[in-house]
């Protein structure tokens, strides 16, 4: 076969494989292929080389793309990412080199400490003292209840039982309107059957009150006297500060942690309460169970907070709901009744007076809450 002829055949094969043949030529060529194995082999050879070249084309395109990706890498970013790996490497190296030593040292130390503590019997005490959680300040009467039950059990063998509901706990509240509205802690009265207020500064005073408003989130409750014998508290001397106070401000409380009114003083030690709670202050006043709901006053006799709880296991750490939050909560929740239930003078009438005089004037507006 001459080269020209071979070239013509090859051109045909090329057109056939590349799909450049017209229908008639294509069919004729297919027929020829079926009959001519040599031609069929030539087509297969062409096809193979063509496939090789296609593969090469794909790969080169991919390589070009990868080079473009590579060129697009920001060298600064790359350095930063590399640094992360290097640092990790250093750390791993350090750990693998020194970990056995550290581990041995640590276990020796641990064993020493534990055995010492164990011998001294400290472990038990430590467990107990470390339970530093928020404990609400209601007077737990469980022990007393148990005692009463025991004596009752003894007595019941001899005498018929008397029917009185057990008193659950006590706290403090303070008046905010002449007509008988008072503020206290919601947790005291949340599940109460009945609530009474009493005062040791006005012997014989005892009124029945009802929950007028309660908010679990802020632990704020408003009580209203429902007794028909009640007339008025008279003019209230203190007011409620609508803003917040500064760190270190000297403050004091009047409360009923026992069956008598008790004075306590301290200062604002943090602008946030338990675990960073922003609606409360941390105050450094020794508070006891029964302090819940008692007012916190500043020097001029403005109420700046309501005692809500203390941190058990830490002395002198107590929390008070901010007066600003009290005001905002009531304003948002009870906008229509606000004037009625919130009836305090615009300015404290106690500013500039001696503390003893202040206490004398405010004590008649602070009451013991008894919950049954």
């Amino acid at each position: 076969m001459k080269t020209d002829e071979q070239f013509l055949v090859w051109s045909k094969i090329e057109r056939y494989v590349e799909g450049d043949m017209e229908a008639g030529e294509y069919l004729a060529f297919e027929k020829e292929l079926a009959e001519n194995p040599i031609l069929a082999q030539q087509v297969a050879d062409y096809q193979q080389i063509r496939n090789y070249l296609d593969e090469l084309k794909e790969r080169r395109l991919l390589r070009t793309k990868l080079d473009q990706f590579h060129a697009a890498i920001d060298p600064i970013e790359q350095q930063a990412a590399l640094k992360v790996y290097k640092n990790r490497q250093i750390w791993r190296h350090y750990v693998s080199k020194y970990l056995p030593t550290i581990a041995i040292a640590a276990s020796v130390a641990l064993i020493t400490v534990l055995s010492t503590l164990f011998t001294l019997g400290y472990l038990r005490n430590m467990e107990r003292s470390q339970q530093s959680s928020l404990k609400l300040l209601r007077r737990e009467l469980d022990q007393i209840k148990r005692d009463i039950k025991n004596s009752k059990d003894t007595l019941s063998r001899f005498a018929p039982r008397t029917m009185t509901a057990p008193q659950r706990f006590e706290g403090t509240c303070f008046a905010i309107s002449e007509k008988g509205h008072l503020i206290t802690s919601y947790h005291l009265v949340a599940k109460a059957d009945s609530v009474f207020i009493e005062s040791t500064t006005q012997p014989g005073l005892r009124y029945k009150v009802e929950l007028a408003f309660g908010d679990e989130r802020t632990d704020l409750a408003v009580l209203k006297i429902t007794d028909s014998t009640f007339r008025s508290f008279g003019k209230i001397p203190y007011t409620l500060k609508k803003g917040t106070v500064d760190l270190g401000e000297e403050v004091f409380t009047l409360a009923y942690p026992k069956n008598d009114i008790v004075y306590g003083e301290g200062s604002i030690s943090a602008r946030t309460g338990f675990e960073g709670d922003s609606i409360a202050y941390q105050i450094s006043i020794p508070v006891n169970p029964g302090n819940s709901g008692s007012p916190v006053f500043d020097d001029s006799g403005n109420i700046i907070g309501v005692v809500s709880g203390k941190l058990s296991g830490a002395e002198g750490v107590a929390f008070a709901l901010k007066s600003s939050t009290v005001w905002r909560t009531l304003k948002d929740s009870l906008p229509e009744q606000l004037d009625e239930l919130f009836d305090l003078p615009k300015q404290s009438k106690l500013a500039g007076q001696k503390r003893t005089a202040q206490l004398k004037k405010m004590q008649d507006f602070i009451f013991q809450v008894k919950v049954y």
Partner: protein, 188 residues
């Protein structure tokens, strides 16, 4: 908004796989950038240069890319681990070829990754065809590359190479094709 969505979507492995399948260059570029520092650190830590790291990483990226194109392929680990494992193998091979004996210091977890026969044959074929093209010499190499790889028309090639017409160029291409065939048969 669209931009934000695209960014968060990038964190997803499936999105990367999809991008590789669909040749989404923007996403592929991000994937490339994401894991290069890892391989760069590996290679540099084990007596290599940045250029060598680039080569090894691109080889691994190609293995990933080509595996993902297969419909039956299932990635059994994260893309990161895959790229690391393949890069690591390739770097070990290069170190062996350089006759450098070293305990490879690893910086990541890896899976024992063995490339399958399909990939190995393809790589061997590509090396063979590439060297055949080199041996072909000019003007054949340019003519075949322009026609088959760059998809230029015969008229364009005739003009570029200085042939009087497309038919002359075609005859030349035929000769070149035959020569390539011959070289490939010798190399096989």
């Amino acid at each position: 908004m669209e931009r934000v969505m695209k960014r968060t979507a990038l964190l997803n492995e499936e999105t990367f796989i999809k991008a590789l399948r669909e040749n989404d260059e923007a996403v592929m570029s991000r994937l490339y950038k994401l894991h290069f520092p890892m391989v760069l650190h590996l290679v540099v830590l084990n007596n290599g240069t940045e250029d060598e790291a680039k080569d090894v990483y691109q080889e691994a990226f190609i293995v990933l890319y080509e595996n993902v194109q297969r419909p039956d392929f299932q990635l059994r680990c994260s893309i990161k681990t895959f790229l690391y494992s393949v890069s690591r193998n390739h770097w070990l091979k290069r170190l062996q070829a350089k006759k450098i004996k070293t305990d490879l210091k690893d910086i990541e977890e890896f899976i024992p990754f063995v490339e399958d026969s399909v990939s190995i044959e393809r790589e061997a074929r590509l090396v063979m065809v590439e060297s055949a093209m080199q041996r072909l010499g000019e003007p054949c190499r340019t003519i075949l590359e322009d026609y088959y790889l760059h998809e230029m028309s015969m008229a364009e090639i005739a003009e570029k190479m200085g042939y009087t017409n497309a038919d002359n160029a075609k005859t030349q291409k035929y000769k070149c094709f035959n020569r390539l065939k011959k070289i490939i048969n010798e190399l096989k």
